[in-house]
């Protein structure tokens, strides 16, 4: 019989960490918008995984981690008002743009971030998983443990809201 890899083995656990830690961290960050909290949730989830390593098969480790983190999130901060402060990076240097355009871009970006932070938690998470982590709806539905239709519906709601809020600031 082929030897089944167990999460209880340290090297397996380490590789599981390397594989999923960043994605889990992003997921938690989209949910709570707090760097430290997201880190805490990741840490707690992995500690839980290690403590229950005998009960979790390696194929389920990812799902276990995400469910764990989500539960921790729900337990701790679901009821709190969340203010997102997303960081900008990789912004193009518009060297050939005039200052007015740059200002508009800046304004748009600020408004975008604010609108995203206004979204309900589940819609925001789905939107950011798609936009930042470049995940397909199918993958998001697996991570969230919901139907793909639900993901599409929530995404559509999020986009509607963004469209409505950003329409005014957007100049054609």
């Amino acid at each position: 019989m082929e030897k089944v890899e167990s999460v209880c083995e340290e090297n397996v656990f380490n590789s599981v960490y390397k594989k999923h830690a960043k994605a889990l961290y992003n997921f938690m960050y989209y949910k709570c918008g707090d760097v430290n909290k997201a880190e805490d949730f990741v840490q707690e989830s992995y500690v839980k995984l290690w403590n229950n390593c005998a009960k979790v098969v390696i194929e389920k480790a990812k799902a276990y981690l995400f469910t764990c983190a989500n539960n921790l999130f729900l337990n701790h901060v679901a009821h709190q008002k969340i203010v997102l402060r997303h960081q900008k990076s990789g912004v193009k240097q518009y060297t050939n743009e005039n200052p007015e355009f740059l200002l508009e871009e800046k304004e748009f970006m600020a408004k975008l971030q604010q609108t995203i932070s206004e979204l309900p938690e589940d819609q925001r998470t789905i939107f950011l998983l798609n936009r930042i982590d470049k995940k397909k709806y199918r993958e998001i539905s697996e991570i969230q443990g919901v139907a793909m239709k639900t993901v599409e519906k929530k995404m559509s709601l999020a986009l509607k809201y963004l469209e409505k809020k950003l329409d005014t600031i957007h100049k054609v």
Binding site: Y17, K22, Y30, E39, Q43, F108, K160, L166, V172
Partner: protein, 304 residues
């Protein structure tokens, strides 16, 4: 409507699931530039740097800091309880399966018992019946002390053991009486095999067998098809008076002093179970014997 359709396309677009026609149509949307901008700008967003190494170290630190749960040494090992339980269960099963079922009647009482195979036993006054419920169908053995009427269902040998001998049958109705002076079997249906230390009889329907204390044996015929005592009457057929007296004593819980009379004389007849005075009269008046009650429990018989 159009915005709804645009929204649908937009949603699909972000999933990169638009067909070429849909894409062309979507690009024509008046809000396409806004959609494009939202898509682009949101893609420029980034998550803060995640310090993998640092968090990993924290996880390791937390794991190593976790106190190993104190090992609980069991006072009794786990198997102790299961062993104890199974031993108890075995003992219980042993007693349960081997238990003797015991039925007893007192003075003037009758009891109808249905045995596990459906056979019926009617126990007359002051009698005891013992049998084992375990493996009843294959081993129909009863111990009887007193008098009982058996309606036996067909099956394996049905054996009634008494102090005087055994009665074994196959599907029949018969009466066994071991009270006092006699060992008396009446067969009402079928065939009964009676074995005492000296005698071996096969009784057929309507036949009866009686062995007295002095080992004299009588074979006689009966007319009734069921023992009269089950209907509130005791019937005797040329029975020694001593046997009738014992039956009276068992029925009414009295002591009958018969030293002054000849209790070997024969009695044919019956007495009721419902009234002592009437019973005494029906038995002793025809025999010209006076009864005198000393008290409610003691009766003396005097020759006229």
């Amino acid at each position: 409507m159009e915005t709804n359709y645009d929204n649908e396309l937009f949603t699909k677009w972000l999933n990169e699931a638009l067909s070429p026609e849909e894409l062309r149509e979507f690009e024509k949307s008046p809000k396409f530039s806004l959609y494009q901008k939202i898509a682009q700008k949101s893609r420029e967003l980034d998550t803060p740097e995640f310090n993998k190494e640092k968090v990993f170290k924290q996880i390791k630190a937390q794991l190593s800091a976790q106190r190993k749960p104190t090992e609980v040494k069991r006072l009794f090992p786990n198997f102790f309880f299961s062993t104890a339980a199974s031993v108890l269960l075995l003992i219980g099963a042993f007693f349960f399966l081997n238990r003797n079922t015991n039925h007893t009647t007192t003075y003037g009482e009758q009891l109808t018992i249905t045995l596990p195979d459906g056979s019926e036993v009617i126990l007359n006054a002051n009698s005891t019946l013992n049998y084992k419920t375990k493996n009843w169908a294959a081993n129909r053995v009863l111990e009887l002390n007193g008098e009982a009427y058996f309606k036996v269902k067909k099956g394996s040998d049905f054996v009634v053991e008494t102090n005087y001998g055994t009665v074994s049958v196959l599907g029949t109705q018969f009466n066994v009486n071991t009270k006092g002076a006699a060992f008396e079997i009446k067969c009402f249906e079928g065939k009964v095999n009676v074995k005492t230390s000296n005698h071996n009889r096969i009784l057929t329907q309507g036949k009866a067998f009686r062995q007295l204390k002095d080992s004299t044996v009588e074979d006689y015929n009966i007319q009734e098809t069921f023992p009269s005592w089950t209907q509130g009457e005791s019937t005797f057929n040329s029975a020694p008076l001593s046997q009738v007296i014992i039956a009276l004593e068992h029925q009414y819980n009295v002591k009958i002093d018969a030293v002054n009379i000849d209790n070997t004389q024969k009695f044919t007849g019956s007495f009721t179970h419902s009234n002592l005075n009437i019973a005494l009269q029906t038995v002793f008046v025809p025999l010209r014997i006076n009864t005198s009650k000393i008290n409610t429990r003691n009766i003396v018989l005097i020759k006229q």
